[in-house]
Symmetry: C2
C-alpha cells in the first residue's frame, strides 16, 4: 500500500504512456518514498499501460490516473489530431487537470530523487531549472505548477495557435511561460534539482564540485537507465560506454532501487516482458 | 586611430597573452566599432605580445595595457608562482585594476559582437550569463564588473586560499561571486549576450528559434575562429567538420571582419607569421 501523505493537497506527478516508461515511474516513486516525502504520489498513465503494471504502480502511487491522448469526446483533442507531433506534449499537459491538488511538482519518469526535496513545494508556478543547451529556457523534466482547468485550456489553445518550437512539451511550455527567464530568480530552481546526466560532458569540474549536493538526477537523452545492462547476481550495472562512467553512481542507485523495491513486486510474467521491452 | 568614446569612464575589456589571441582581440574590437559602441576599448596584453601587433591593436583600442603575470616585484604574484595553474586566471583578474573606469564589460578574445550591446553597462557587478555545462555557474567569457583595487586584492587572496575548482578563472570567479546563482535575476545576463557556439549540439531548436536575437557569440572550446580555413579569393570560411555548420554564419562574420578590417592594417611580415600561428 502507498504511504498516506501528510500534506494531501500537494503531489509529485509523473507520466508513463507505456509499460517501459512505467518502470522509470516505479523507481522514481520508490526513490521519493525512500526520501520520506510527505506529499502524495500521482502517476498519469495512457490507456495502453497494462493492467498488471497499473497494479504495481498502485502499490506505491496514491493515484494512478488514466489520461487519454486521443479521446474523441474531447473537442480540443480532436483539433490536436491535426497536429500529431503535439501528442506527447498534450499528454504531459494533462497534469494541470489534477484538480485534487493545489500545488504539484512534475517529474519526468526518467528522473531519480537522491534526497528529500519537499522544499520544492515552497516555489510558485512556474518554477524550473535552466536547460543546459539553452539556459534561458527551462528544462521541462522537473517543474512546479498549480493544477487549474483554465490554465490547461489556455495551454491547449496556445499549443494550437503557436505550436512548440522543438515539437515537444519543453518548447511549448517555454513559449507559454516565457517570463520565466527574466522575472524572478525564485522561479529558477537550482540545477541540483534537475541535474541532467549529460552535464559532465560539458563541465566535469563543476559536476565533481557539486555532485554531493545533487537532489534529483535526470537521465535525459535516448539512453535511459532501464536500457543499461544489470547483473542480478553481482547487483551491478554495466555502463554502455566509457563516457557515461561519471553517471555510474547514479545509475547504480537507480538499479539498486529497481532490484530491491520494484522487481520483487512484479509477477514473473511481467518481469520477463519488461526487461526485454 | 581609435574612435573617441562618448562615455569615457566605461570600457569593454579583453585579454591577449600572445599574438594569436590578439587576432581574436582585433576582430572583437572591430565588431564593437562596427556596432557603434559609445564606450572605450581596452586590451590587456602580456609582455610576449609583439610590438607590431601592439601597434595594430592601438589603431582600434583606446588603451593597450601591458599586464605582467609573473612580475617579481609583486608579492602576491610571487606567491602565485607556487601555483602555476592559476597563471592565466591571475592575468584575467588584472581587469579589476583598470582604475580609469567605473564600470566595464570583460569579453574573451574569442567573442564576437553581432549587434550593439551598450545596454550591458546598465547591469551591476557581477553580471554574467549562465554556463551551458552547469547553468548555476556563470560563464566567465562575458561579465560586467567594476574595477576596484580592493576587489582585486580580495580575489588574489581568495585564489591563494581556495584555488579554482576548474583550474581556470571561471571556477575561481564562481566561488568568489557565489551569490550570482540565487541573488538577483538582474545579474543573469540573457544567454544571447554569451551564446556559446556549442549550444547547437545540445538544443538546436532553441538556437534556431533565438538565433536572430544573438548579440555576442562566444567561440568557446579548442577550435577558435582563426584556426578555420579561409579562402581569401572567394572570401569564404570552410568549416572543419559538419557538426560545426550551424555556426558557419557566425564564423563567416568573424572572417569578413578579419579580411576587411584587420588584415589590411597588418604589415606583410606580420600577416605571414600570424596565419600560420
Ligand atoms: O514514450 C514516451 C515518451 C515520454 N514519456 C514521458 O515524457 C517524459 C519526457 O520524455 P523523455 O524523458 O524521454 O525526454 P528527455 O528528458 O530525454 O528529453 C518521460 O520522462 C515520460 O514521463 C512517456 O511516458 N512515454
Ligand atoms: O593562451 C591564452 C589563453 C587564453 N587567453 C585569454 O583568456 C580567454 C579565455 O580563454 P579561452 O577563450 O581560450 O577559453 P574558453 O572560452 O574556450 O573556455 C581568451 O579568450 C583570451 O582572452 C589568452 O589571452 N591566451
Ligand atoms: Mn526526461
Ligand atoms: Mn572563450
Amino acid at each position: 500500500m502507498p504511504s498516506v501523505p501528510t500534506v494531501s493537497d500537494q503531489a509529485w506527478v509523473t507520466l508513463a504512456t507505456n509499460d517501459t516508461y512505467a518502470l522509470g515511474a516505479l523507481v522514481l516513486a520508490h526513490s521519493l518514498s525512500r526520501a520520506r516525502t510527505s506529499r502524495a504520489l500521482v502517476v498519469m498513465v495512457a490507456p495502453q499501460v497494462s493492467p498488471g503494471i497499473r497494479e504495481v504502480l498502485a502499490e506505491v502511487y496514491n493515484e494512478v490516473k488514466e489520461v487519454d491522448v486521443l479521446d474523441s469526446r474531447d473537442e480540443a483533442n480532436l483539433a490536436l489530431i491535426q497536429r500529431p507531433e503535439l501528442g506527447v506534449t498534450f499528454t504531459k499537459l494533462h497534469c494541470w487537470r489534477l484538480g485534487n491538488y493545489n500545488k504539484c511538482v512534475f517529474l519526468d519518469a526518467d528522473t531519480l530523487v537522491m534526497q528529500n526535496c519537499d522544499e520544492l513545494f515552497e516555489h510558485e508556478e512556474l518554477s524550473a531549472a535552466p536547460d543546459c543547451g539553452w539556459p534561458d529556457c527551462f528544462n521541462s523534466g522537473v517543474f512546479v505548477f498549480c493544477p487549474n482547468e483554465q490554465t490547461y485550456q489556455d495551454l491547449l489553445n496556445f499549443a494550437l495557435s503557436y505550436g512548440s518550437f522543438d515539437g515537444g512539451d519543453q518548447g511549448l511550455l517555454n513559449l507559454f511561460f516565457h517570463e520565466w527567464a527574466r522575472k524572478d530568480i525564485k522561479n529558477h530552481l537550482p540545477f541540483v534539482y534537475n541535474m541532467v546526466s549529460t552535464a559532465a560532458y560539458s563541465y566535469l569540474p563543476a559536476v565533481k564540485q557539486f555532485a554531493k549536493d545533487v537532489k534529483i538526477v535526470h537521465f535525459l537523452g535516448s539512453t535511459k537507465p532501464w536500457m543499461h545492462n544489470f547483473d542480478p547476481v553481482a547487483g551491478q550495472v554495466t555502463v554502455k560506454d566509457a563516457v557515461e562512467s561519471f553517471s555510474q553512481g547514479f545509475l547504480q542507485t537507480w538499479w539498486d532501487i529497481f532490484a530491491s523495491d520494484v522487481l520483487p513486486r512484479m509477477s514473473a510474467g511481467e518481469h520477463a516482458d519488461l526487461t526485454h521491452a
